[in-house]
Symmetry: C2
Subunit: 347 residues, 2 copies
């Protein structure tokens, strides 16, 4: 089959790779319908981190597909079923899976890399398929719009929702979302979905802040206009009880901690690769909590998918560019150059 | 009157100072019965920080007393009432006081320093007395044992309780307390009071770890024996859901983050003056929350005092040395030299 392979920083290729096959009786093999390129795929592409940055590694951890083959112990899935995958698989039986934290499953893992198929390819072997994949209606698989609405749930929408949950966004509450990438925009949508009254979106791109407004931001603050902290504090009458840090850089974390209200919570869901430290003195003095991490997307998928299918949730505007599988390298370039927020792959 | 005054690092004196008098109609003046020396008083004494470190500053923020005079607008207190004070005063009417976070009260403040009487003296002018002070039964004022049991509630017991609350200690749960100072020991007692099943106390002093066992620690780990993290992980079968960091040093924070279970919480209640950074990568990867700060002791005082008065709670073993007011300098030396865990002052 054809699949996207990491070659070197700045060089991803769509190449011929072995067809996936059932290895464990709990596996399925699925044909991929839609994939996507994630902001976190760019870390290796830009050479910022080593993770997944070895030649030959498979790429992509966001996908929707059709089950083609099932292992002997798969109970809930059959060939022909349409499924959506969270960005990590998990066994569904361990302490952490049962507690709603499948990303800490000791048997779990992520799509792609040296050992697993990635979502940016024609097919995937999916381990622990009963536990990891979520069935969606068969008719969704032929509905291009619906696929676009569901696709962000594989990662960025689940991650934005995690940011909102960790920051304890409340009905009627005030939330500040720092970051206008795909996760930050989805976080705005998640705050809106959870009933926040006042949502301030902080970003650096006019066009993305417009999506934030469409997603329910009541106020936007463009960091290029300066005095970000002062303006956010003014808009939130002294700080918000919920602040969602959706970037993972030192400057964004600093803004987040500076605009939270005493007793409030900063959540963080961007890999904090650029964060050296947090202002513990301020956190201590004002009882500010820091809470977040890699999003347990699998735990959120059924609820979020139900809302999409009901027509109540539509994160698809973050997917502002579409490529065919062969043109995935163009997608990486477009996201790196910030021409696209997020790229959808029609496989 | 006589009161303890900071002169210079290593030099505190009991000196003649002006008698306190009502300044605001919401003030009371109280005669002090019992005071204490806090670990945080030692920061200035050792010259580690400037706070309260100016010559002439008054010292002490832990006290129990008898109301002698009340301002015109004081409603709930009368001369002769016995009262216990939290380490900070607060107006009782602002957003944060009403939310149970009186330490963030914009009108609030702490005893001592350049502007207020301290608890290590004969009397105190107490601002916002209705809101700040908690009445205790008159007979408690003449009961030496009961005064010793109540005195830690002014700070260290309330702070240990805050650590347990912030770390989400649950009935039947597992908690690790890092630190065997007065706060750490009180935190063990708080975990016990909240019903934790397994409580691991991590410290460096054999005698203090014995108090921890008396307070309900099911296991103690002496850091001098090495491999602290490994041993705590073993005792907690891979980490505790609740870890209470009660020191405020880099090494203690590092241990705390290393022994928390995925999805768990590290609370921190020691001024993080020695903490440069926390391991955000681990926090991110395992969804570990960090939560804590200066303890809103006033909010906890009524419940904790009720438990002491009912005979269910006794943190007095942390007070292992008693001095008269004139001998307060000896108390500072004893705590600095770690001869005493915490010093009670019989004024």
């Amino acid at each position: 089959m054809r699949a996207t392979v990491f070659q070197a920083p700045g060089d991803v290729r769509v190449a011929d790779v072995p067809d996936p096959a059932i290895r464990e009786p709990t596996d399925v093999v699925a044909r991929v319908l839609r994939g996507a390129i994630c902001g976190s795929d760019l870390w290796a592409y830009r050479g910022d981190i080593d993770t997944a940055g070895r030649a030959g590694n498979r790429l992509g951890h966001e996908w929707i597909g059709i089950v083609e083959e099932v292992g002997a112990r798969v109970e809930t899935l059959s060939p022909g079923d349409a499924v959506i995958a969270p960005f990590a698989f998990s066994d569904g039986t361990c302490e952490f899976c049962l507690a709603g934290l499948p990303t800490s499953c000791p048997s779990g893992g992520a799509w792609g890399g040296p050992d697993n198929d990635g979502g940016q390819g024609e097919a995937v072997r999916a381990p622990f398929a009963d536990a990891s994949l979520v069935k969606i209606p068969a008719e969704a698989a032929t509905d291009d719009d619906l696929l676009a609405k569901l696709l962000p749930l594989t990662d960025v929408m689940g991650t934005g929702h995690h940011a909102a949950v960790c920051a304890r966004v409340q009905p009627g509450g005030t939330a500040v979302v720092v970051g206008d990438g795909a996760v930050g925009l989805c976080a705005v949508l998640a705050c809106n979905r959870l009933g926040a009254d006042r949502i301030v979106s902080v970003g650096r791109h006019k066009d993305r802040l417009q999506i934030a407004e469409r997603f329910g931001a009541t106020h936007v603050v463009n960091e290029h206009d300066g005095e970000t902290v002062e303006r956010v504090r003014e808009l939130t009458h002294g700080g918000a009880e919920s602040v969602l840090e959706c970037v993972g850089m030192q400057s964004s974390m600093d803004v987040a901690v500076d605009v939270v209200r005493p007793g409030g919570t900063v959540s963080f869901v961007g890999i904090p690769i650029g964060v050296e430290k947090v202002d513990l003195q301020r956190m201590f003095g004002e009882n500010i909590a820091l809470r977040g991490g890699v999003a347990p997307v699998r735990a959120y998928l059924p609820d979020l998918a139900a809302d999409v299918l009901a027509g109540w949730l539509d994160p698809s505007p973050v997917l502002d560019m579409t490529v065919d599988l062969d043109d995935v390298p163009d997608g990486y370039r477009a996201m790196t150059d910030r021409i696209a927020v997020k790229v959808k792959i029609d496989v």
